[in-house]
Symmetry: C2
Subunit: 544 residues, 2 copies
């Protein structure tokens, strides 16, 4: 990570620094603090509740529904050589390790058995052939494992951690000389979501109660020894997901230590120039996905730290990580052109902006908005830490950027921001300019309504983007619209049987996948867990 090279040459130290490491003195202590805040995972032994069969149904999500066929004893107490296949239902999404036993039911086992296990978050994962694999991401994310087992009676634990509700077992090989049964299937499920969440008001509509429940299940499953983006895939800490998770956590499980750990981990694993990496890994030792930076994500670190400070009043951590906040802003401001417009062409650097899956989205206005949003939050953080003097120009730049955006990107007649050379109209452009404070609530309402109603406007795709749309609606006092959207979008997933909220959801296309193979989508994904945040934070909108 550190590129400092020490060469001992005839008694002389020559220090070659290929790039100055701006956090050289802090990294070690940041990593130690991240380690000290590592949660002890809560382990729960969960049993499957029944056996299911898959039923093709074109009305069901992705074409498959599951039907209960028998209780577990009809697996546990019969020959698996006869049965050959079974699907167990754990009744809810779990993240953890599976154990089971094989028991000989007649003669002495004289050969290993070969079993295939497939773990699924949604029914279609059990019913879509994985091979030949057409997907973009690694085939190895798919949760099927083949095991050769010689061990009888003892408990066998599959080493790989799975994220799933359904467990399919298939017999691939057995000896003709003995029979056996499978029994004692358990999942040791883990989470660091230990706190008790607040009950909703009795007036809360049932659909919102259900959305809230599924949101919290989603967050709980993603809360492991870091905030993972998805326990099936990618199983790591991404800043964008983290920002949303930590806010839901504030309104639910209140495991603020996990937020602290992730803030420190990201900081400790930043690049030498101070830029955060978009995602980091915990094992075998904490390390970043080297060279992968996402500017909108990096900037959200600042807002995450602000919310953490406001929630916990942990000034020590906020002061410790203040240099990281400064560096993210400093780096982003380097992209401003002479007119205070964020312009990637200013720097000769490759730049990754995310905001949403939609490749068609022009991100210029959104980035202008997110940078203003970040400046405002970072100034608020500075005030809480008595650091205003260090960043006094930020408030000014924020105002200049708003002014510039209104001048260069806003079309007063229509009341909307248009993005890029093609003057693209999109919902997210309005969303981020609203969150930046550039528009009054009534201006914001108008902009959003135009962008939502226009048939040529680019609409959000990922639940991640829908989160900011709802946040913007609430900021513009569009309470009914926010509530309706939450019920339509997340309630849509609930109606389609979601146990946890999905990484990708388009009401019109159950098979949408950014990876060319929908079974490799994550069906328990952090950035989709935010309804609980809205429901708890804005009871006057959602709990009546």
């Amino acid at each position: 990570m550190k590129k400092t090279l020490l060469i001992l040459l005839t008694g002389l130290f020559i220090v070659t620094t290929s790039a100055r490491d701006v956090y050289q003195t802090q990294r070690h202590s940041w990593l130690e603090k991240a380690e000290a805040a590592k949660p002890v995972l809560l382990k729960t032994i969960c049993n499957p509740i029944c056996l299911l069969k898959s039923v093709h149904d074109s009305n069901a999500f992705q074409g498959w529904k599951m039907e209960r066929i028998a209780d577990m004893d009809s697996l546990y107490k019969v020959s698996f050589k006869t049965k050959k296949e079974a699907i167990a239902d754990f009744g809810r999404h779990l993240t953890g390790n599976i154990s089971f036993r094989l028991k000989a039911i007649d003669n002495t086992p004289d050969a290993p058995v070969r079993l295939k296990f497939t773990f699924a978050e949604v029914p279609a994962e059990l019913n879509t052939p994985f091979d030949p694999y057409p997907g973009v991401l690694s085939r190895a994310w798919l949760q099927d494992e083949i095991m050769t087992i010689s061990q009888f009676d003892d408990e066998i634990t599959i080493p790989r951690r799975f994220a799933f509700r359904y467990m399919k077992i298939e017999l691939l090989g057995a000896s003709p000389y003995f029979d056996f049964s499978i029994s004692g299937i358990t999942c040791t499920a883990t989470t660091s979501a230990i706190g008790i969440t607040q009950k909703l008001a009795d007036t809360t509509p049932p659909v919102i109660k259900e959305i809230n429940r599924v949101s919290l299940e989603t967050l709980k499953e993603c809360m492991q020894s870091v905030y993972e983006d998805g326990p099936k895939r990618d199983r790591r800490l991404w800043i964008g997901d983290f920002y949303l998770q930590s806010q839901v956590n504030t309104y639910s499980f209140k495991n603020h230590n996990l937020t602290k750990r992730c803030l420190y981990l990201l900081a400790a694993l930043a690049a030498d120039d101070g830029q955060l990496h978009a995602d980091v890994f915990e094992t075998p030792i904490p390390h970043p996905q080297l060279g992968v930076h996402c500017l909108d994500y990096s900037l959200l670190f600042n807002s995450t730290l602000l919310e953490y400070l406001k929630t916990t009043n942990d000034k020590e951590t906020a002061l410790d990580l203040w240099p990281v906040v400064q560096n993210q802003v400093k780096y982003a401001l380097g992209f401003l052109n002479g007119n205070n417009i964020f312009d990637p062409s200013v720097k000769k650097e490759s730049l990754w902006l995310f905001f949403d899956w939609n490749d068609k989205l022009d991100k210029t206005v959104a980035m202008q908005g997110l940078l203003i949003f970040t400046l405002n939050n970072s100034c608020q953080l500075a005030r809480l830490l008595n650091k205003e003097q260090e960043v006094k120009e930020w408030a000014t730049i924020s105002l200049q950027m708003i002014k510039a955006a209104k001048k260069e990107m806003f079309v007063p007649k229509q009341g909307v921001f248009l993005s890029g050379n093609q003057h693209q109209l999109s919902q997210l452009s309005q969303v981020w300019m609203i969150l930046s404070g550039a528009l009054t609530p009534s201006e914001g309402q108008k902009a959003l309504k135009v962008a939502i109603e226009s048939p040529i406007s680019i609409y959000p795709v990922a639940p991640y983007a829908y989160h900011y749309l709802i946040e913007a609606m609430i900021k513009c006092n569009m309470k009914n619209e926010a509530k309706k959207l939450l019920i339509d979008y997340w309630g849509g997933m609930v109606n389609k049987g979601a146990d946890t909220f999905w990484e990708v959801y388009d009401a019109k296309n159950d098979y949408l996948s950014p990876y060319s193979f929908y079974p490799v989508n994550s069906y328990c994904h952090a950035w989709s867990c935010t309804p609980a945040y809205f429901i708890q934070k804005y009871p006057d909108i959602f709990q009546k």
Copy 2:
């Protein structure tokens, strides 16, 4: 194992014994002695020597030969995402655990990889689709494993022990965002064959030197913490294989402690009525294949113990196990009819006799011969242990059985024994009557020659049966024939590329399998390792 049932009923012990356990007082100490004699395995780190490709060749054994294509660096130093498949050659048969490393060669690994490993004793195992599996034995014996690996840089060890020379690696899944190489493949090979074997005389023909070498490799690979029948399959102690292995061991590695361990294990795990089980397992705790008895195997325990005593002079062990010797004979004598002929119909019990794979073989004469052979060896054992008084009738019965066989089974005109109601002529009938001592060398020669030359005679199939044929030839002073057969049969395997001798070998049919799928045959099999015994024991025949 013990069927004694203790029921505590209102202060009263009711002891229900479904069958008296004849070894009740000894079992525990026998197991302890087996455990005390358990060898510490010699572990050797072995590296693959080069990369190979499979070449279809109708002249090669089972249609495939391997050709060297590159050194290991052409795997270790290149992208495996590009290479996708490799076959490593360890240059010899090994039994042990495989370790390797995955190294990222550009970006940070962001997803698991999915690899398939196939381990093969012979080339066809790499080139014959395993599925859909047509074989009789468990599909799980085939040595292919699919692994999902997230661990980079660290050494990864595949938990399953393999028996193999060739290792194929195939890429089933990887991330588009990083590349990796596979390196540092090693096999930690194990054996309990630690002694140094004696060099052959310089006069030994090269083909016999080679047969001797391959024999010893075969035995070495099968010598683990017991004498296994085959390290790929069935990986356990079978009495029939054990008898042959222990004799080869006497003339090679001289690990007599392993023989002692196996004698005690078999004894400790015998049935309550005293009968030995045909095979036993070591893990998780020593246990027999319950209910599986093979009478010809059981009786060979006695000869194994005799040879052990003659080699080691360990009277303590022989005296300890003397009751087992007596019980095997006693049980077998129960099958004699009034005319001193072994007759399965005497007892109303199912009886398994092996002798050879050949289902057509009538085993009546062979069993008569093997029982006489066992009586003779058991009497010899009794003399060495001063136990003649306990079994004084055995010598008499042996003579009566010879007399009866000559009367009822022998056709003086042709000079051969004919077996069963169909008066079947077979080589093995003559073999076992020769080994029983019923025929003089010249009578034996005549019988064997007739049986070998007759077109309707049943010939041996398994190498196990060929062993006894050679032993019988030597006993009849058919030195040239014995030598020629050894060179033809085992030399045939050597000529076809055997690194170790095979479980099944028919010069005329490379694809022969008793299990309906030749890749599941064992290609390193204990009962085929006996040429080294002959070569060392009879230097005047084989070493010139």
